[in-house]
């Protein structure tokens, strides 16, 4: 697998897995408006994931389309960031995960819109508008919950502590990242950290939340080494396609 294919799959899988997680809220969110909101976030991310998967399939040139890539790869062949496969937790936990992710994706898409890969640049430029809207939603909720009641504050604070260690992976460069960055196709993850930190710190301050201490362990979901949660998510997401190969409706 070339670095370009692997890199695009990382982006695609990260969106797809998060969309699947967010989809678990449909019908269960604390209010109808948030049910709609979370479903709409998921829909945007899923749409971007489909474009990215189709692009990865074209780059690979082995005849795999978006469905084969989404439904017929095993856990170790998924290259999503470990953060997005973490369980939803309560509504506050989902908001914290979403906020940390949105702040990262906004910077990523800003940079990726300049990619030498025209298709990737177009997907990023399109996603950029959506990511900005998502960040407004998740950031707005984080401030409301963090600066809300003692209960809501305690819950998002706890979630922030649990999820923070997973953000290390967002900014670690590996061989694949360096190869695509050198080719002008991809973005070096470490180059996104400063802007992300500034964005996150500004919102955390408004949400009356302290930035957790840096954790030293780094997850490597993007290399196919996942936490214990991804397998269950994929099992559910892929079961129908595996039971009825090629099913369409």
């Amino acid at each position: 697998m070339t670095p370009a294919v692997r890199y695009v799959l990382r982006l695609a899988d990260t969106n797809l897995v998060l969309a699947q997680r967010l989809g678990e809220w449909v019908g269960h969110a604390p209010a109808l408006e948030e049910d709609l909101g979370i479903a709409n976030l998921a829909l945007d991310l899923l749409g971007q994931a489909r474009l990215l998967l189709a692009h990865a399939g074209r780059l690979e040139g082995a005849g795999r389309g978006e469905d084969e890539l989404a439904y017929l790869r095993e856990e170790s062949e998924y290259f999503n960031l470990t953060l997005v496969e973490q369980p939803n937790g309560d509504f506050g936990g989902t908001i914290v995960r979403q906020f940390l992710f949105d702040a990262w994706q906004l910077g990523l898409y800003e940079a990726l819109a300049e990619s030498r890969d025209a298709a990737l640049a177009a997907i990023a430029a399109k996603g950029l508008k959506e990511a900005a809207y998502h960040l407004r939603y998740s950031g707005g909720w984080l401030v409301r919950l963090g600066d809300g009641t003692p209960e809501s504050h305690a819950r998002v604070e706890r979630a922030l502590g649990v999820l923070w260690p997973f953000t290390n992976e967002l900014f670690v460069d590996d061989e694949t990242d360096r190869a695509v960055a050198e080719a002008g196709i991809g973005v070096l993850p470490s180059s996104l950290q400063a802007a992300w930190s500034a964005r996150v710190d500004e919102t955390l301050a408004r949400a009356m939340l302290a930035r957790p201490a840096a954790a030293h362990y780094v997850w490597y979901g993007k290399q196919g080494r996942h936490s214990e949660h991804l397998g269950y998510l994929l099992a559910e997401m892929q079961s129908l396609h595996r039971a009825h190969p090629g099913a369409a409706w």
Partner: protein, 162 residues
């Protein structure tokens, strides 16, 4: 519309007018008061070598479920008028609410959906009051948010500005 027009990459003015007339009758599946032309998703109309018509369609939101329906409706309308057409996706430049036509904005307001304007609706589409508040950043479709008028107290849809 002669034979030659079908061999050129750009449709003749007469053919273009006819195609636009057809597309003006194709409604957006989620906001039927708008045509696909009003929505600003038709990016190009080209005649491919061999005579096949190519329609470039931009998705509104990456994951909008209406995209596939729009594509099918456009091809069906063109086929009904005797055109052998194919649709291609156009991602760049990305669609934004700026692509909405002036006519589309008027139709939205008349239909009761506040047209996109900066960071929120300019006025309640029912009573015209500028005292509005946001109920939800997301509404019944990816392109809309939900607002409420503080004067007439009615909730209303707002076409998101992105």
């Amino acid at each position: 519309m002669g034979e030659r027009a079908l061999d050129a990459s750009t449709p003749s003015p007469a053919l273009l007018a006819r195609l636009q007339g057809i597309l003006a009758q194709v409604p957006d599946p989620e906001i039927p008061v708008l045509s696909v032309l009003d929505l600003g998703v038709i990016r190009h109309l080209r005649v491919q070598p061999g005579g096949r018509l190519e329609v470039g369609i931009a998705p509104t939101y990456s994951g909008c479920p209406a995209s596939a329906v729009i594509k099918a409706d456009v091809l069906r309308a063109l086929a009904g008028a005797g055109f052998d057409a194919v649709a291609v996706d156009v991602l760049a430049p990305p669609w934004s609410s700026d692509w909405l036509s002036a006519e589309g904005r008027r139709k939205l307001a008349a239909f009761g959906i506040a047209p996109p304007a900066g960071r929120g609706p300019a006025a309640c589409p029912r009573c015209g009051s500028t005292r509005t508040s946001r109920v939800s950043e997301f509404g019944s479709t990816p392109c809309k948010a939900l607002y409420r008028c503080e004067a007439c107290l009615e909730p209303f849809d707002y076409f998101k500005c992105i």
